[in-house]
């Protein structure tokens, strides 16, 4: 063919639709960097960057919907030599990530303006991170998971430290970076060991190898499994790998915290579930006890740790650890029901977290100065609507029925009940920690409804702008709608799990 007669190498075929959601977000990020290089005036730069970001998110969502329809008719498929899986699961998680990203972008505008930070860079980093999350949801190869994980994490390190004038933000960024890099290295070592044990980094390849060959010596594989769990445990903020969570959630700019709690958690859980179910589905008896322990620790640490906090952001950080425990209850069930319940939980928790942190961001005021519980005293008289919205979201996080939080918990508990055995114990522990966590939520709610005393300094909270308002309304509305009529979401999660490529 070619003049020198060299044998041509077959490059992997690319299904453009399969990579479109990831690529479009990344393109939008690059586009923002490009136009920032051209446009120098801040007054023009931010609005135009916002438009590019919006277009990127919308196009990515359109691509996801197109994928969904294609998967519905033709079934799941892989592309890029099995590196990328396109199935209901990846699309569902992708949807959650996109919604969370859109919300975080909406929250960001006001925040950036308030703190006088550079906007376009922020948006570019967030979109880049989100594209990594989408890649993570469909990564079907351990190397792809690792690369996606890093695409998620590296922009996040910067985002956490984005407010460079505030030393707490820098400190949070530093902590997140050091522990995140450490976790990545641990995860990667797990990947290397798994590769050594099975001779493949592809999830399907590993599964095939394990189903054909009975390993005489399972040590390497188990070590690999444990190390991968540790690495991903860091990312999902599961105890005992949660140490960074309170500090980072507190120090990071609030919109970034919202983004991390909702989208990052969803993406990291997606990777965890796919690795466990696709690659190691056959040896679930190996990882179920490990997840059981992780779940118990997360539930306990998350709920009890929250009780002794005095800062609302830290409380919510611990509650996020607690929620990771609940999701793990679903994951450890090892069943299809477990996956769909974890998906439902992730979707519901995503908007609960975004809404809660949005409100905290408003109350904390300029400089994210103070999210201390004292600051919330008497909020109901100053901001009646805001305090009711926060109360609703907190009750939902506590799992009160007729809110979305109950549906989420009900799902994971029925998955546990369906799995039977020790899962019942786990479910009981889960419910009891929910009661402990409820104490924390009620404490916040009660503080809001306690009138501020004479001596309390009442700092003016910033105004609720359009973007923040939309996010709060959106999450509150979903909380009630899904709480009363969960059929649509449950059906979607069910459908997504049926199309889970294994």
């Amino acid at each position: 063919m070619n003049p020198l007669g060299v044998a041509s190498i077959v490059t992997p075929g690319v299904d453009w639709l399969g990579v479109a959601p990831v690529a479009l977000l990344a393109l939008a990020a690059i586009g923002i960097v490009l136009q920032r290089s051209i446009l120098r005036r801040a007054s023009v730069a931010y609005p135009s960057a916002l438009i590019v970001a919006a277009v990127g998110i919308i196009l990515s969502a359109v691509a996801l919907i197109a994928q969904w329809h294609r998967v519905q008719t033709d079934g799941s498929y892989t592309t890029l030599s099995k590196m990328v899986a396109v199935d209901g699961f990846s699309i569902f998680i992708g949807g959650v990530v996109l919604v969370a990203t859109a919300c975080s972008v909406l929250l960001a505008s006001r925040y950036l303006d308030r703190e006088r930070l550079d906007g376009p860079e922020y948006l570019a980093l967030m979109l880049l991170s989100a594209s990594g999350m989408l890649a993570m949801a469909s990564a079907n190869d351990l190397i792809a998971v690792f690369v996606a994980l890093e695409i998620v994490s590296i922009p996040l390190y910067v985002l956490v430290a984005y407010d460079r004038r505030r030393s707490t933000s820098l400190e949070a960024g530093m902590k997140y970076f050091l522990l995140g890099a450490f976790a990545s290295a641990v995860f990667l070592y797990g990947v290397a060991l798994t590769y050594g044990a099975t001779g493949s980094t592809g999830l399907v390849g590993i599964a095939n190898y394990l189903s054909e060959v009975t390993l005489l010596e399972r040590g390497t594989l188990l070590a690999g499994l444990v190390l991968m769990l540790v690495g991903l445990g860091f990312k999902v903020a599961a105890a005992p790998f949660h140490m960074w969570t309170p500090d980072v959630y507190q120090g990071a700019p609030t919109p970034v915290t919202a983004f991390m709690a909702s989208a990052t958690k969803a993406a990291a859980f997606a990777a965890l579930i796919r690795i466990l179910y696709t690659a190691l589905g056959g040896s679930s008896s190996d990882w179920r006890p490990l997840l059981w322990v992780l779940a118990v620790l997360s539930l306990l640490v998350g709920s009890i740790g929250a009780v002794i906090q005095t800062d609302v952001k830290r409380m919510l950080a611990y509650s996020s650890i607690n929620h990771a425990g609940f999701i793990l209850i679903g994951v450890q069930a090892g069943t299809i029901k477990g996956v769909s319940s974890a998906l439902t939980y992730l979707a519901i928790y995503a908007f609960l977290a975004v809404g809660s942190f949005a409100i905290v961001g408003v109350v904390a005021g300029r400089g994210d100065a103070d999210s201390d519980l004292e600051r919330f005293k008497g909020l109901s008289s100053r901001r009646t609507g805001l305090s009711w919205a926060f109360t609703l979201l907190l009750l939902a996080q506590a799992g009160v029925p007729l809110t979305a939080g109950f549906i989420a918990k009900f799902g994971v508990f029925s998955a546990a009940a369906g799995a039977g055995g020790t899962s019942y114990v786990l479910a009981l522990i889960g419910m009891l920690t929910a009661a402990i966590a409820a104490f924390v939520y009620l404490r916040i709610a009660a503080t809001m409804f306690t009138p501020a005393g004479e001596g309390d300094q009442v700092l003016a909270s910033s105004k609720v702008d359009l973007g923040t308002g939309i996010v709060i309304w959106f999450s509150c509305a979903l909380t009630i709608v899904i709480g009363v009529a969960p059929g649509f979401l449950l059906g979607l999660a069910e459908r997504a799990t049926l199309l889970f490529l294994r």
């Binding site: 690792f146 430290a161 460079r164 530093m174 970076f177 590769y195 493949s200 740790g305 906090q309």
Partner: protein
């Protein structure tokens, strides 16, 4: 004396452990950072060894990605450290950086 692949794996495991322990024990941010790099390179060694024993190229491909990611992490990490030093002009230990606590 024949150097078998096991030697490389053990060396890699030792390097990785040194890195991990250093990460947990040392308080100097830059040293912690170097420990992470050490861990990543131990992983690279593992990958290459397995790639050789399994006679499969994907392990070596993985190393490329790890190298690039490590570089990106270096960039971010150093930038963060620089930003912190600019902000406070204090020492470089993790204990100096601890305003956040509950």
């Amino acid at each position: 004396m024949i150097v078998t692949p096991t030697w490389y794996l053990v060396l890699a495991a030792a390097l990785f452990s040194i890195g991990a322990v250093g990460m947990l024990v040392r308080r100097n941010v830059i040293v912690m950072f170097m420990c992470v790099e050490l861990m990543l390179n131990a992983v690279n060694l593992t990958f290459v060894t397995f790639s050789k024993t399994l006679n499969d190229l994907s392990g070596q491909v993985a190393v490329f990605f790890v190298l690039v990611v490590a570089a990106a992490e270096v960039a971010i990490g150093l930038a963060l450290i620089v930003a912190i030093f600019r902000r406070r002009h204090t020492g470089t230990t993790a204990d100096d950086i601890s305003e956040l606590r509950g």
